[in-house]
């Protein structure tokens, strides 16, 4: 028989047990929560670390290097090329995707912005302009400047260039199946046109990936040179060749360039041609196709016969399958 006293005592024991459980659970929760509070009350050292890192990064900004060159064309066009490089891991690498600004500088040092462009994958920012938009100084030079402003990772850099206006003229001559190029290099000055003597001239034709040098010579005192153009070169579908004549990397004039397209090559069609059947062609030799299909066919015909035989085995059996 269970007495009331016993029931009360049992209830008391249960209460005590539940109280213990509650205390234990709360203790565990407190233990779990405490580190969170502890973390919150800790001084914020992260910001300090970040500041230090930024300082280190500022100290370690990369030095950039700008190189300005110019190409002059007979139609009074000048192309300015600003090559941006940076010293990374002990070698200069071309930096793409950066803004380069170009300026014209007058004798007083005042800068007039000509425009700005972004460097391409080759690290070169290119600006095309007309000579008529530029002012010459008293000595007959254009004073030009290319500048990269820099950013938080890379220092800025600039490069200036004194360029004397000049042009290269080219006259293609065709006589008795011989091709000649009559070339004349002329500098512009306040006193009028002056011939550029003893300048090395190179003749290139455009190929698929780069230019191929086909002739070279040197200008005489009159700034003229006649060069024989080779025959038997492959042209486009109409036999056209894109000819470029250049006086390259002079201190005074930069690069002087003249372009012309002449029908002096033999026609090469770029249209895809059907290749004859061969080991290296997209189309296999006929004997290979025949052999392949005979061999594969022979095997698969056997497989087919065997599969048909499986159906025959089923048909040859009794209509009712005996059971175990």
């Amino acid at each position: 028989m269970i007495m009331k006293k016993d029931i009360a005592a049992r209830k008391g024991n249960q209460l005590t047990r539940w109280s213990c459980y509650m205390v234990l659970i709360m203790g565990m929760m407190w233990t779990a929560i405490t580190p969170v509070f502890a973390q919150e009350t800790q001084p914020d050292t992260t910001a300090q670390v970040e500041t230090e890192t930024e300082e280190v990064e500022e100290e370690e900004t990369i030095k950039s290097r700008m190189s300005l060159t110019a190409d002059q064309f007979p139609d009074s066009t000048i192309i300015l090329n600003g090559l941006l490089r940076a010293k990374i891991e002990a070698s200069y690498q071309k930096i793409p995707g950066r803004k380069v600004s170009f300026f014209s500088v007058n004798p007083e040092g005042e800068e007039t912005q000509l425009g700005d462009t972004i460097t391409g994958p080759n690290g070169i920012a290119t600006l095309r302009l007309n000579k008529t938009n530029l002012n010459m100084n008293e000595e007959g030079y254009y004073s030009l400047l290319a500048r990269y402003e820099g950013d938080d990772k890379m220092d800025g850099s600039e490069s200036d260039l004194l360029l004397r206006p000049a042009k290269l003229l080219m006259e293609p001559i065709e006589a008795d199946s011989t091709f000649m190029l009559s070339i004349q290099a002329i500098a512009e000055s306040t006193e009028g046109p002056l011939p550029i003597a003893a300048a090395p001239v190179s003749v290139y034709i455009k190929r698929m990936f780069s230019s191929l040098k086909v002739a070279e010579g040197e200008t005489d005192e009159a700034g003229m040179v006649e060069l024989e153009f080779p025959s038997g070169l492959a042209g486009d579908a109409d036999g056209n060749l894109e000819i470029t004549v250049k006086i390259e990397e002079t201190e005074e004039y930069g690069n002087l360039t003249a372009l012309s397209t002449q029908k002096w090559g033999y026609a090469v069609s770029t249209a895809p041609q059907e290749m004859k059947r061969a080991l290296w062609s997209p189309h296999p030799p006929t004997w290979m196709v025949i052999t392949f299909f005979i061999l594969m066919g022979a095997v698969w015909i056997h497989f087919a016969i065997i599969i048909i035989n499986l159906f025959r085995i089923k048909a040859q059996g009794p209509h009712t399958t005996p059971k175990a």
Partner: protein
């Protein structure tokens, strides 16, 4: 369905295996599944993080995946050739080995090509192989040949099983209903009447005849993937027969291992006798001599030719600081030891042969490694500024995990096959003289 006395005894031996799954088997299957699951994790890593998790780089673009493929696919061709010859020439002693050879063929041809898929960097372009095949490429031939062979292997095993399925159907095997129904469906209503016997035997013989040349062709195609490439150690006219012989040789080795294991586990000493091991040892002896001859011829002509790149490869293969010890092991354990043990009658014991075959099979795997990796480490064009880890190949844990996953899958196929069919043919097993068929 009638069955011989021997067949009836073998069925009784295998019955517990088919009817129940013991705790030991459950543990074994769990281990295999766990290994495969771990390989699955490695594959997940390889797919998500790219082939950088493997040891394959710019120079050595083929690693142990291709080695495993060559090895396993070779075993499958060997199984088909051995079982095909035993059937065609009606070799009576070979009857208990036919099913094992066929199972070896099927398991290898299922697992082997999986390793080729592991080599493929872009799974999303896999279907291009079929959409834009280049018929001049040995790789295209190999893809089509392996698929054709897989179909042939499945058919070959199934044809050999039809009579047995009829026996299982008509027997008193205490199997679940679905299993019994499956036996009945797969038996194709076979009752062993004259017409059915004639059609089935004709089909088996026809397939045996076609599968032997197919196996030889497919093994040759595999060799041509290497042989038709202008690389030192690969560009060789004897690669076709060398691969065929090597495949059959390693297949005989694996057959000795499987036969020994099956005999021991299922206590089949009455049906698989030392005589079987003797015959397998004779085959191993002949093939080891042939394989040794090819190997010697291959190295000897390259060495005498003294071409720059061939010499560099030979130097690499025989230098103790590079692959010298591997080459030594591959030739000693792969050729010399099997010849000694198979040739001397006192050493030609099942247990010894099992150990020798196991070492020989391992040596044959190493030999394939020596065919693939040192050549790739000897590029014809010197590559400038390349990193040393790109030149030398080292196997990563991911590759080992996937390799062991493949091995586990091979054993799993065998184990599961043992739960469904008898590993020895029961329907027409005649091991005793003048044995007659009895009614089951």
């Amino acid at each position: 369905m009638k069955i011989t006395t021997s067949g009836s005894e073998v069925l009784r031996t295998f019955s517990p295996q088919i009817e129940h799954t013991s705790m030991r088997e459950k543990v074994w299957i769990t281990i295999l599944l766990a290994t495969i699951a771990f390989a699955g994790y490695a594959l997940y890593l390889q797919i998500t993080e790219g082939h950088g998790v493997t040891g394959m780089r710019d120079n050595v673009v083929w690693g142990i995946f291709i080695v495993n493929f060559m090895f396993l696919i070779g075993l499958s061709y060997a199984g088909a050739i051995i079982s095909g010859l035993l059937i065609l020439f009606k070799v009576s002693w070979g009857q208990p080995l036919i099913r094992l050879s066929q199972l070896m063929t099927l398991a290898s041809v299922i697992v082997g090509p999986l390793f080729i898929l592991l080599c493929v960097g872009r799974f999303d372009r896999l279907h291009y192989l079929f959409l834009y095949p280049r018929l001049q490429s040995p790789l295209t031939w190999d893809v089509l040949a392996v698929m054709t062979f897989l179909v042939g292997a499945v058919l070959f095993l199934y044809l050999g099983l039809i009579r047995d399925f009829a026996v299982y159907r008509d027997s008193n095997l205490k199997v679940s209903k679905w299993k019994h129904n499956l036996y009945r469906w797969l038996a194709l209503g076979y009752v062993g009447n004259e017409a059915q016997k004639k059609t089935l035997n004709a089909s088996i013989n026809l397939l045996a005849i076609i599968l032997i040349p197919v196996s030889i062709m497919v093994a040759s195609i595999l060799s041509w993937i290497f042989g038709m490439t202008l690389r030192p150690g690969w560009h060789s006219t004897i690669f076709g027969p060398y691969f065929v012989l090597g495949a059959i040789y390693s297949g005989v080795g694996l057959l000795i291992i499987i036969t020994w294991y099956t005999r021991r586990v299922y206590k089949l000493e009455k049906y698989i006798t030392p005589k079987h091991f003797d015959y397998l040892a004779y085959m191993m002896l002949v093939l080891a001599c042939g394989y040794g001859y090819f190997t010697f011829s291959e190295y000897f002509t390259s060495w005498y030719g003294s071409e720059k790149w061939d010499n560099e490869l030979i130097e690499k293969l025989f230098s103790p600081h590079e692959y010298g010890w591997w080459t030594f092991f591959a030739n000693l354990a792969g050729v010399v030891i099997p010849i000694i043990f198979a040739a001397i009658p006192k050493l030609r014991k099942p247990d010894y042969l099992f150990v020798v075959a196991a070492i020989m099979v391992l040596a044959m795997w190493v030999k394939r490694y020596l065919i693939v990796v040192p050549t790739l480490e000897t590029p014809l064009l010197p590559v400038q500024d390349t990193r040393m880890e790109y030149v030398h190949y080292s196997i990563t844990w991911v590759e080992w995990a996937l390799t062991f996953g493949g091995i586990a899958l091979f054993f799993l196929i065998f184990t599961l096959a043992g739960k469904f069919i008898t590993l020895i043919e029961v329907s027409d097993l005649k091991l005793k003289e003048n044995e007659e068929s009895i009614n089951q």
